[in-house]
């Protein structure tokens, strides 16, 4: 590393030590100690109590569902955006990024008002003499909230990758006799995988750890692992158990990143 790059890296080094490394050490310390500061794995092991295990499984299922929905919705959209003509689509993509300019908490509360029993959607439905919809305070509402909040994080990386695919590659495939479907399946899809994978990570990880969406749209009836950690810190004042579960979550996230990264590399090597 030259002197110049070292100097340029200084701001981030300070930032990283102060706000990433040191907090991480503190979390690990709390996670592996008890109230009196003695070593214990009780905090980590508390993931195996049935309440926490259930919350973890529910979190995994809901984030898996929302990631899948995001992918199904985002891929065609990103494909169209990329196809419609590079450069011209900036207005279109702006429309999809626009909601991100608003605070996600506000958007989630807006969904609560929309979905409520006497909310806007139901008021409209009953005005049209249609049966009302009761999905607020159910897992469906939480998935809806996750999809709405995290969809742009799936669209953008896929769109970026698709834009960068060399048109000549696709033309070459056509020249060699591949039909539209074959071109997509054999050429475009494999080349877009890195974007898909970073999209999956960017949706799955925040969904797995959210507690605000489940609180607001789940009516406090569905406990995700994020809610449990939040309650351990704020209500129970039990930082050790909270940090212990956070460490478990970090391990889960690292594993999921390693798995996706491995797929990424295997495909790149093809």
């Amino acid at each position: 590393m030259s002197k110049k790059t070292k100097w340029l890296a200084m701001p981030y080094t300070i930032w990283g030590i102060g706000f990433i490394i040191i907090p991480l050490i503190i979390v690990l310390f709390y996670g592996f100690t008890d109230v009196s500061g003695h070593f214990t794995i009780e905090g980590i092991a508390s993931i195996f109590t049935h309440v926490n295990l259930k919350a973890l499984i529910v979190s995994m299922l809901l984030s898996f569902a929302s990631t899948l929905v995001c992918l199904i919705m985002a891929y065609p959209l990103a494909y169209i955006l990329a196809e419609v003509g590079r450069g011209k689509s900036s207005l279109l993509s702006l429309i999809f990024i626009l909601p991100m300019w608003m605070n996600s908490l506000l958007r989630t509360i807006a969904w609560q008002n929309l979905l409520e029993k006497t909310g806007l959607i139901n008021a409209f439905l009953s005005f049209c003499h249609l049966p009302t919809m009761m999905i607020i305070n159910t897992p469906w509402a939480i998935v809806l909230g996750m999809v709405y909040d995290f969809l742009p994080f799936m669209i953008l990386p896929i769109y970026n990758v698709l834009c960068k695919i060399d048109k000549d590659t696709i033309n070459a495939a056509r020249d060699l006799g591949a039909n539209g479907w074959q071109t997509f399946w054999r050429v475009t899809w494999p080349l877009s995988l890195p974007g898909v994978i970073s999209g999956i990570t960017m949706v799955f990880v925040p969904s797995l750890t959210t507690f605000v969406i489940s609180d607001i749209l789940g009516g406090g009836k569905i406990l995700l692992i994020g809610n449990i950690i939040e309650q351990l810190f704020t209500q129970d004042n039990d930082w050790n158990a909270g940090a212990g579960l956070s460490v478990v979550m970090m391990i889960f996230i690292i594993i999921s990143i390693i798995i996706t990264d491995k797929y990424d590399r295997e495909d790149a090597g093809k």
Binding site: V51, K54, A55, E116, K117, T118, M134, N137, G219, G220, K221, L223, N227, I228, Q231, F233, T234, Q235, D236, N237, D238, W239
Partner: protein, 353 residues
């Protein structure tokens, strides 16, 4: 190149606005400031302005949603306040953990306006040295007369299948368990594991009937006809009735929680003179009255009822209840660290059920 230039200008102007443009910042070491930590929507904001006008002391006012959220912040010293307004059992816990300092009542002459019965009822502060009661009330059932046809006088209505998805429960450990324990005929300060387990099963059975577990939102949801029945604090009941006359508040016959919220000065407070001045200000009859008319929680200030101009408020049985006709009213006690931990765990058993 041009793009780069514009970018630099933007970055610089952003940095400049960060440095200069953040408006009024309060220096925590200055003498004319007071840090107050109170429960959500629990004061008339005009009162804070009036206090600043009269004394020149700036009030930095923060709010907490539940006592449980307030406690760790204060205990860890992560936030330093001069005045906090917790509930009875939390004050007992703070006293047990030596987090409070005595109030100098000689600097609070208006303290004499506080009714003796409320000071005596403040068993969480046995020597009456650390607290000044702020509000008190009960926890009861708020129901919508147009949606509930049977008479409501018991907690049992919260387990009635007829009101599936129309019931709002308090999302707070102690309040939720108080309902179940009282319904079963036990003390709401029970630490008996069998009794708590029984209450836990009862709450689990209730879960499929509950529309949502919420705290402050009970008020708005009931006003908006979102639910038929809700568990609510008496002070909120009066406000909701004003907004929606179909609502009615009852104290169930099985008994309930009588709570007192009181002001305390934490040990690490830095602006003691200002804290006492603010307490004296709050106890002043006209201020207490103004505040009462705004938040409509029952006040322990004996001078207030005569000053209230609104006849319906003055004669309200919710705001000024005759306590002698109610039995089984209990005040929360601190359950000890072990008891609390157990109950918190049992609450998660309900929430994840």
């Amino acid at each position: 190149m041009k793009k780069k230039f514009i970018g630099t200008i933007l970055a610089l102007s952003l940095a400049a606005s960060l440095i200069t443009g953040c408006g009024k910042t309060v220096d925590p070491n200055s003498d004319d400031v007071l840090y107050v930590y109170n429960a959500g929507e629990y004061i008339d904001p005009d009162i804070l302005d009036q206090f600043t006008e009269e004394t020149g002391i700036n009030v930095v006012y923060d709010e907490f949603e539940t006592n449980e959220i307030m406690y760790p912040k204060v205990e860890s010293g992560a936030a330093i306040y001069d005045l906090i307004c917790p509930s009875d059992y939390m004050i007992e816990k703070m006293l047990a953990n030596d987090l409070l300092q005595p109030i100098d009542y000689s600097k609070v002459p208006n303290y004499e306006n506080i009714g003796k019965e409320y000071i005596e009822q403040s068993t969480f502060d046995p020597e009456h040295k650390y607290t000044i009661p702020y509000c008190w009330g009960t926890v009861g059932i708020l129901y919508n007369k147009t949606m509930v046809d049977e008479p409501v006088d018991s907690w049992s209505i919260l387990w009635n299948e007829k009101y599936k998805n129309n019931i709002l429960m308090q999302d707070s450990v102690r309040d939720a368990y108080a309902v179940a324990l009282k319904y079963l005929g036990y003390s709401l300060n029970s630490t008996d594991h069998d009794e708590i387990e029984e209450a836990c099963e009862l709450l689990q059975k209730q879960k499929h009937l509950v529309q949502a577990y919420v705290v402050d939102q009970v008020r708005d949801k009931m006003i908006g006809n979102e639910a038929a029945i809700g568990v609510i604090y008496s002070g909120e009941a009066l406000y909701t009735q004003r907004q929606n006359p179909d609502l009615e508040y009852v104290i169930p016959k099985e008994g309930t929680n009588m709570w007192i919220d009181a002001w305390v000065i934490p040990k690490n407070a830095r602006h003691l003179e200002n804290a006492h001045a603010f307490l004296n200000f709050l106890c002043r009859a006209d201020i207490a009255c103004k505040n009462f008319e705004y938040i409509t929680y029952s006040t322990p200030n004996t001078k207030v009822r005569d000053l209230v101009e609104d006849e319906s408020l003055k004669n309200s049985e919710i705001a000024f209840p005759d306590l002698s006709q109610y039995h089984n009213l209990e005040t929360f006690k601190f359950l000890g660290d072990k008891g609390e931990k157990y109950l918190n765990g049992m609450w998660r058993e309900v929430k994840s059920y």
